[in-house]
Symmetry: C2
Subunit: 705 residues, 2 copies
């Protein structure tokens, strides 16, 4: 490279790095502004711009308008254009029709505005015309470093900064808190904000991304990881186009801030979703797998999302493979339902140690159940000591306490404080009662930083969420190491079964001993070397479905039947050379399907499923993103609905889970190493006590390979 | 029968009928009292009795105390004993230790008190001593007609009657409403009361049954079916000992009043549950199946239970096999999540008719999605007309509307009233926003009787619950008719396979043609008559597991192999006569397991499961109570997770569902006809396009047969 060229390249790199810094700084200016300009406010108070201005009226920083003719609106100074602003604002709210937004954004960038928020729809979600406008906005951002929230969103709120950037009245009632919201949909963002407020929590920053031309989920996660007011993140996703990058971002963020997430797309809602976000929905199963693997806790509903995030903003468990909890109840019936929900989620409620039991027995009347859950009957004066004794039990990672409000016998803060102070373990309080009692309990516990949940179901959810977060973080701390790749050169397909198995073998995956024979003579020679019984299979590139043409003959034990098998295969008409693959038969075992596919958004994904039509009919399979760690693979196997098939079920052999895990890791690595391969499938993988053998293998090359 | 005997019997019947009338009248007196006496109140205000008296202080009827020494407590007159009461009270609250309750109950019965509520624990749940006391109470009730709520419960509330019979302070804040609560646990009853109150609904009667010595779930259901303030019932069950009777009661009640239910026992919580209720938990799966079949809507959590019952207290759908709903949203993101939840529950959101579409298109800006869901973007002035147009669509049974609060553009009552008035169809409103907006919306919609739900998840739940109720009621209206029983005489076991199949045949269940042969000569003679290939099986009463001893030889086609098969079976050592069953082989097909078991609580239950170890490993089976209707059986098949195996999956034949249903109905009828049989299992039932054939059958007789 010439010196001149080198210098040009390094100038370019420096420029890019400066731009990156600008973008990062402008993102923070957008969401934590000290000055704001509203474009599109007018004398007409029903207009979104006027509404936005009104909602912002309590903003403590500098608030002005940009208007071509007015000099003042709602008491705020107007400037005719961005160029006329006495100083560049951090945030400009564009409440003007789509077709005027590009010009406004360009002018804002020119004046040094940090970011703009575009209220209007009429962009990529409406068709080609809108997409052009959207592309133009994207170009301005990429070139100048201006940040853009939206278009097509209801905006964001940052109550602590007094910044309510939204045209929806009432949003300014959402309180200040420590949960931040990142939602692809503006409506979901508002929903979560209100739900959190109803829990008495409020939000730190809550943003709806809309069409996400510039500011996307990853930008928000990186911003919030650094935001000191944010202690937990509630994430809402619809379609994800940059899955792999999001996966990497989340892996960085979740160890610092707990993330709870909801993913749309449980049912087939493709058409509506396309129209809404302008994106195709990805596979929800893969999205959930990716988020979980990156350490987020995926829940099913917005109610659960708000509740889980609220709990996370107060407490988090240490990373651990599995957590043991204790439940202390004032009433047995709700206690039974909580126990039920915890156990159904696989949380252990172990018996308490003898020392703990002794302490509790001394404090409780004889008729109560004191193993775990500890049912106190009606709470008495010994309640705080019971909670403390249970929390001090070495086997217990967290304590859940449920009691219906009876202020005369149970004051929540008094009951929980000693246990928290003595152990530092998370104690979560669940309760129900008259509204004023709940408010008092909430306020008292907020001071202690103790999570509280209304009702038995939500207390159980708190336990389940804390456990999941700790398990996911433990898994993340055992993430995959970089593996040495056995085959680095680019491969050229198509591959027949023999070539496919050879590739598997090079990745350490066992396949039966076999010989590929081009002639009858070679076949007869190979026969003697192999251990009987054998399988004789057709090997012709134009015959992918061997069984259907009678090209697989099992249980061949002697020369006459071997000879007959060769005759049958020779008689099958083929276009490519008709060869035979002679293979030793594998020992009996449990059959699985292990494969890897290249997802357009998430990249290489590994799938493990149980074999057989019944398992297929119930869709019993699990997904993980490559590279998989041994822990990832073990967690995946544990998530199979029919996992008991692996453990010596009904006379089947107990399966070597480590061997299955190695195969799963290897097929993932194979896809990472070979971008020219789009799919690998081992079906079946036959597994017993000591081995996992690929009985058949398929390698699919991409069209461009 | 002699005349004297006849007369004595009829006198006895008349006495019983009078007692039954008394019991019914006393139950109503207990829960809707006009006079109450409290036993156990004292100068000590911390005592449960004093607390109960305080909680009752706003009772508008006559309120007195029974106390051996005091003349007045908290301003209420005291009488030394029940005998001294100037008139018998409707309800006596016994807040005294367990050991004094029997005497008090006897005295109350003697004085003509309607019912007593016993606060204390210390009865059946604590051991033999307590059980004795409990039995004595039961005896008094059975003999005198006195009704007893409890013991070991926190009581009941009837806010409309001003009757707060509970020692828990704060319960008097629960408002008056139209949902009644029946909970086995006092703590769950209070929880549900508070949860309903938080929904702005309140309760009609809310009772916790505790040990349920006398007043049980069935009594409550019958009472509430007649209670004019009760429009929906929220039911909580732990263990059910009288399942079959509860099933019959629910079948009567649910067509009159919608019932939502929660059943404890998702996980294995046996030990805790026993200690709590003194009952063994039954199989939760059977309980859920029974409740559903009787028309109740079973949900998973108390939050869902309160919400579903609240919706039911306002609206109910007509009984229908499946319901089509429309969703209208003000914001697309929440709309996507609602659509998701509805579709995941199998609710159809069909495209709207052309007339409807035309009307809506005229009212909406072009960029919105107007199929179904109808996404309005930000609600505009045409919103009420859109809701009406959608509701008027013939294909639509109910309309769900979601909009985040924006009072300036969307007033809920204005938006929904025209649609409701024009169509009478249920319209449910879901929303989120500042608390004061939600309160106003709630109050406005309460006047219209329109259900409202806070947030997208709860709106979806409302739709799912309404749909389930309508489907269950439709199923109930197609209940099983009495079947003529082919075999009425009592049978004597044990039955071998041949006898079992003969019994199946007599119930119309197909089995392969077969001959049971006691001698080799008979076998050889039978060989010629049967269609090949054949199965040759050992038939000896002491060999239940035929395959394990090599006693099943398949695919026998010619005389030499038949002869060899007979030799192999003859060589198997047996204690009972060694015979052979020669059977034609059934055509290929899908294998199911169909059986019936006699549940100690629910009586004869039918189980349908997919065959094979994989299906077994994922526990893919469904349960229904005999007698099954054809509709019941069809609904059960539809509930199999791997149901696609029945529909021509992966080259398997499409299964004759009617044939499977007939088998399921028949095995249920068999158990109803034959109390001496405890279990029947057909495994496998082999099914193809035209037939369902029992390849093996097992009949188990009870120990007393």
């Amino acid at each position: 490279m010439s010196q001149a060229r080198q210098s040009a390249a390094s100038t370019e790199a420096a420029t890019e790095s400066v731009l990156e810094d600008t973008r990062r700084a402008n993102l923070a200016r957008l969401f934590k502004p000290q000055s704001i300009a509203v474009v599109g406010a007018s004398a007409d108070s029903a207009k979104a711009g006027s509404q936005a201005l009104k909602t912002l009226s309590r903003f403590p920083g500098k608030l002005v308008c940009v208007h071509p003719r007015e000099t003042e609106i709602q008491g705020f100074t107007c400037y005719p254009s961005f160029a006329d602003l006495p100083e560049p604002v951090d945030l400009a709210v564009l409440a003007i029709p789509a077709q005027h937004c590009v010009k406004a954004a360009a002018e804002a960038a020119e004046r040094g505005v940090g970011g703009v928020f575009i209220v209007s729809g009429g962009f990529g979600e409406t068709g080609a015309e809108g997409a052009k406008l959207q592309d133009a906005l994207g170009e301005i951002c990429a070139r100048t470093g201006l940040r853009l929230l939206g278009p097509n969103t209801s905006g964001f709120v940052n109550p602590a900064a007094g910044c309510i950037a939204s045209f929806v009245p009432g949003v300014d009632t959402i309180g200040t808190g420590h949960v931040s919201v990142v939602a692809q949909s503006g409506g979901v963002n508002l929903s979560l904000g209100y739900l959190l407020d109803r829990l008495g929590e409020g939000v730190s920053i809550a943003a709806g991304l809309g069409n996400a031309v510039d500011v996307g989920t990853r930008d928000m996660l990186d911003l919030l990881a650094e935001d000191e007011n944010t202690r937990a993140i509630a994430l809402h996703l619809e379609g994800v186009t940059d899955g792999r990058a999001l996966f990497e971002t989340l892996k960085r963020v979740t160890p610092r801030k707990p993330v709870a997430a909801v993913v749309a797309g449980r049912a087939d809602i493709g058409e509506f979703a396309v129209s809404h976000t302008g994106n195709l929905m990805g596979s929800r199963e893969r999205t959930v797998a990716a988020l979980t693997q990156a350490g987020a806790v995926v829940v099913d509903t917005l109610d659960e999302l708000a509740q889980a995030a609220a709990v996370f903003s107060r407490r988090r468990l240490q990373p651990k493979a599995s957590n043991a909890m204790a439940l202390i109840t004032g009433q047995a019936g709700p206690g039974l339902l909580i126990t039920d929900a915890l156990k159904a989620s696989g949380i252990a409620l172990p018996e308490l140690g003898p020392t703990t039991m002794e302490k509790i027995e001394a404090l409780l009347p004889p008729m109560t159940f004191i193993k775990n859950p500890v049912d106190t009957g009606r709470p008495g004066p010994g309640f705080p000591e019971i909670v403390r004794a249970v929390a001090e039990d070495e086997a217990i990672d967290a304590v859940l306490v449920f009691g219906i409000s009876e202020p005369s016998v149970l004051d929540p803060a008094t009951a929980l404080r000693p246990a928290e102070q003595a152990t530092g373990k998370p104690i979560v309080f669940g309760t129900l009662g008259p509204a004023k009692d709940l408010e008092k309990a909430h306020d008292d516990l907020a001071v202690l930083g103790t999570p509280m949940a209304i009702g038995p179901d939500r207390l159980a959810l708190a336990g389940v969420a804390l456990d999941a977060d700790a398990r996911h973080q433990w898994r993340l701390s055992h993430a995959a190491r970089t593996t040495l790749s056995p085959v680095r050169e680019q491969l050229t397909g198509p591959f027949d079964e023999s070539a496919a198995k050879q590739l598997m073998r090079s990745y350490g995956i066992a396949a039966p001993r076999s010989v590929l024979c081009k002639t009858r003579e070679a076949a007869l020679a190979a026969f003697g070397d192999l251990q009987k019984p054998l399988v004789v299979k057709i090997a012709a590139e134009d015959v992918p479905h061997k069984t259907e043409v009678g090209g697989v003959i099992l249980n061949v034990r002697d020369e006459p039947s071997f000879s007959a098998a060769l005759d049958r295969i020779a008689a099958i008409p083929t276009k490519t050379p008709n060869r035979v693959l002679i293979e030793e038969m594998a020992p009996e075992g449990v059959e699985l399907i292990v494969g890897a596919v290249r997802d357009p958004s998430w990249g290489p994904c590994v799938v493990i499923g149980l074999g057989g039509v019944q398992a297929e009919a119930v869709s019993d399979s699990v997904v993980g993103l490559a590279p998989l760690s041994e822990t990832d693979a073990a967690v995946m196997l544990e998530a199979l609905r029919g996992k008991k098939l692996l453990d010596g079920f009904r006379g089947l052999p107990k399966c070597d889970r480590t061997a299955i895990a190695s195969v799963a890791i290897a097929v993932g690595q194979l896809l990472l190493d070979h971008p020219e391969i789009t799919e690998v499938e081992i079906n079946p993988l036959r597994v017993n006590e000591t081995s996992a053998v690929a009985l058949d293998a398929l390698v699919v090359f991409g069209e461009k390979s």
